[in-house]
């Protein structure tokens, strides 16, 4: 499998605050990668940096898609990636739609702005809605966003992200605003659509629980840095970074009592006051002196001073 997306040493600054501090990530074609972290960990900022959606942040480092550098590409060229090669789904399905335009037009927009005829674009939009499991898709095209339910809107948003057949889907907490039943459905839809299209998915979430059965690989972020990355089985079975372990201990699982749940002490580090050294050290149960002064390098599978690096 070749790398579709390669993020190297990405930093994102907003004003004088460093939101993302040295992010590295590789996404292969057809791979489902979950990017997990608390709010403020920089996971969404990383995702949005890929298409340079945030106009007020300064980006440095490298983001390559199929070898082409996205970070320095002129905006006009980047537009050919947005929507066409990279589809995006966002958290709030209601505000993702223009309230005064029928959803059909909005779903078809990635095609319409690329010169696809109205009739063809409409037909494709209808197909996509059907694929997303929306009944009577032809009639829904003329509906306005407020006339649909939350789950239906999110399915329409996925249809909108996939209509131009992108190679990469960035889903930024697409299930957070939905109720639990709908979360499972939407997740399944994304999973199925990805398999059918050999689509790479960058799935951003704060919920490790929903990652387990769906992702191929997981990358955990804390305070703007990646702390651990591995395939999903290994990560769940044998997490090495203390933060990942603490996170997993906070996820309820079948067969274990609620009593076994432990909350992580302390408060999450914000980008504005990131602790020196390993950002997690004030909350870490096993931190040693070195953790407070020296930023651990990401080696092999985690960024932690206490993890033994296997000799290669």
């Amino acid at each position: 499998m070749s790398a579709l997306l390669e993020i190297r040493d990405l930093t994102v600054d907003a004003g004088d605050v460093r939101l993302v501090d040295g992010m590295n990530l590789t996404l292969r074609r057809g791979e489902f990668l979950a990017l997990v972290g608390e709010s403020g960990s920089g996971k969404s900022v990383t995702a949005r940096a890929i298409t340079r959606l945030d106009r007020r942040t300064r980006l440095a480092g490298s983001i390559r898609m199929d070898g082409a550098e996205l970070l320095t590409m002129p905006e006009s060229e980047l537009r050919a990636y947005r929507g066409a090669r990279i589809g995006m789904v966002f958290q709030d399905p209601l505000s993702s739609f223009n309230p005064v335009q029928p959803i059909g037009r909005q779903i078809a927009e990635p095609l319409l702005i690329r010169g696809v005829g109205r009739a063809a674009a409409r037909k494709k939009a209808e197909e996509m809605l059907g694929e997303m499991g929306i009944t009577r898709p032809g009639e829904r095209l003329t509906a306005y966003p407020h006339e649909l339910s939350g789950g239906m809107r999110q399915r329409a948003a996925i249809a909108m992200a996939l209509i131009a057949e992108p190679e990469l889907l960035i889903a930024d907490e697409p299930t957070t605003a939905l109720d639990v039943r709908m979360q499972a459905k939407v997740l399944k839809l994304i999973r199925e659509a990805a398999t059918a299209r050999h689509l790479a998915v960058l799935f951003i979430t704060h919920d490790l629980g929903i990652v387990a059965g769906n992702a191929d690989r997981v990358c955990v972020m804390y305070s703007g840095r990646p702390v651990e990355e591995n395939d999903v089985r290994t990560l769940f079975r044998a997490p090495v970074h203390p933060y990942t372990r603490d996170l997993l201990a906070a996820v309820p699982r079948l067969g274990r009592g609620v009593g076994s749940l432990t909350a992580i002490p302390g408060v999450a580090a914000t980008p504005a006051n990131r602790p020196a050294g390993c950002a997690y050290h004030p909350r870490c149960a096993v931190a040693v002196q070195r953790c407070a002064t020296q930023v651990p390098a990401f080696e092999a599978r985690a960024a932690c001073h206490l993890v033994e690096v296997p000799a290669r």
Binding site: T51, L53, S76, R79, A80, Y81, R82, G83, A84, I86, G87, M88, F90, D92, S95, S96, F97, N98, P99, V100, Q101, Q106, E109, P110, I113, R114, Y144, H146, E147, A157, M160
Partner: protein, 339 residues
């Protein structure tokens, strides 16, 4: 949809009747005998008696009220004590000139506000944006009639760029057909006269348009900014839409919604503002008619003109409500649910 329109039509009708009722009570408030006023200053006792009978002033109040409403329905607004003509005739003759002015002013104000908001919204907080917002705040505080004098002096008298008075230059004659000078000039196949009429419209229209444009610009700018910061704009950009496409395809229509209702209100205010502008520029119209009527204590004419402008305001707002229905699907549903 039909029920909504029906409801709005009904409440518009109620407002119109209410307006007439308010004017009726105001006329009752007038000091002195209404018949004496209506008959004119130099009327003989017989004439006054005639007017008293014609106006039904001997009848009990409810009867007077009903017959007053009846007269209004037949287009009888009474007689002007100055022109000695029915007020309706005066108003009908003067209407085209005023409508012409208000239309040009409204076009100027909307075009100016939209243009400025477009230019500044995408580069908010820049120097031009700040300067414009300060100017807009100041423009909202300028007394219209004073601005009229000022521009007349600066642009007309000192710089001699534009004519300062009247509807046409004295040597230009346009045969009256519709009463709209510009339209008549075109009908007469006289482009020079058309240009002349337009030039005469520029200054008074600018004076009327300025406060309206200032308010509209501020509303439009604020709603464009909030639309630009909305999620669907981020989504549209993620779909690959260009900035220009985002503004024309998504931002403008959303931003237009609050601005359209303001623009509707402003048409009414512009009609009222005509009172302060037409007489300065020596234009014959409802406004200058009203100014003369007030100074001459020609009450029938005053109330006739006020009623007319009030009715126009109410009807414009009704039209705007209907336009809103077409613009915003959410209103459509909310109104339908309420109706």
């Amino acid at each position: 949809m039909r029920r909504f329109l029906l409801g709005r039509t009904l409440s518009t009708a109620v407002t119109l009747v209410g307006l007439a009722t308010a004017v009726f009570f105001l006329m009752k408030l007038l000091p002195g005998d209404q018949a004496t006023m209506a008959a004119g200053r130099n009327a003989s006792p017989e004439q006054i008696a005639l007017f008293r009978e014609r106006l039904g002033l001997d009848e009990p109040l409810p009867v007077q009220y009903l017959s007053y409403l009846g007269r209004l329905l037949h287009g009888d607004f009474g007689q002007s004590a100055v022109t000695l003509q029915p007020v309706v005739t005066d108003l009908r003759n003067l209407m085209p000139s005023t409508v012409e002015l208000v239309v040009v002013a409204t076009v100027l104000s909307i075009a100016g506000a939209v243009l400025l908001a477009l230019v500044t919204a995408t580069r908010a907080q820049g120097r031009a944006d700040t300067a414009l917002r300060v100017a807009a705040v100041a423009a909202g505080g300028i007394p219209v009639f004073w601005l009229a004098f000022l521009l007349q002096w600066l642009v007309g008298t000192e710089l001699r760029w534009l004519p300062v008075a009247g509807q046409l230059s004295t040597d230009t004659v346009v045969p009256v057909r519709t009463g709209f000078v510009t339209a008549d000039a075109l009908l007469a196949g006289d482009p020079a006269a058309f240009g002349d009429a337009l030039l005469h419209l520029v200054l008074p229209a600018i004076v009327l348009a300025l406060p309206a444009a200032a308010g509209l610009f501020r509303t439009l700018r604020a709603s464009m900014l909030s639309a630009l910061e909305s999620d669907y704009v981020a989504v549209a950009r993620a779909k690959g839409v260009s900035m220009r496409g985002v503004v024309t395809g998504h931002v403008l229509r959303n931003a237009a919604i609050p601005s359209v209702s303001l623009a509707g209100l402003q048409i009414g205010w512009t009609f009222a503002g005509v009172v302060l502008v037409e007489s300065v520029f020596g234009r014959q119209g409802i406004g200058s008619y009203l100014t003369t009527a007030v100074t001459q204590k020609d009450t029938q004419a005053v109330f006739g003109a006020v009623l007319l402008i009030g009715a126009i305001t109410v009807l414009v707002n009704f039209a705007v409500d209907c336009a809103q229905l077409g613009l915003d699907p959410r209103v459509r549903r909310a109104q339908l649910a309420a109706a």
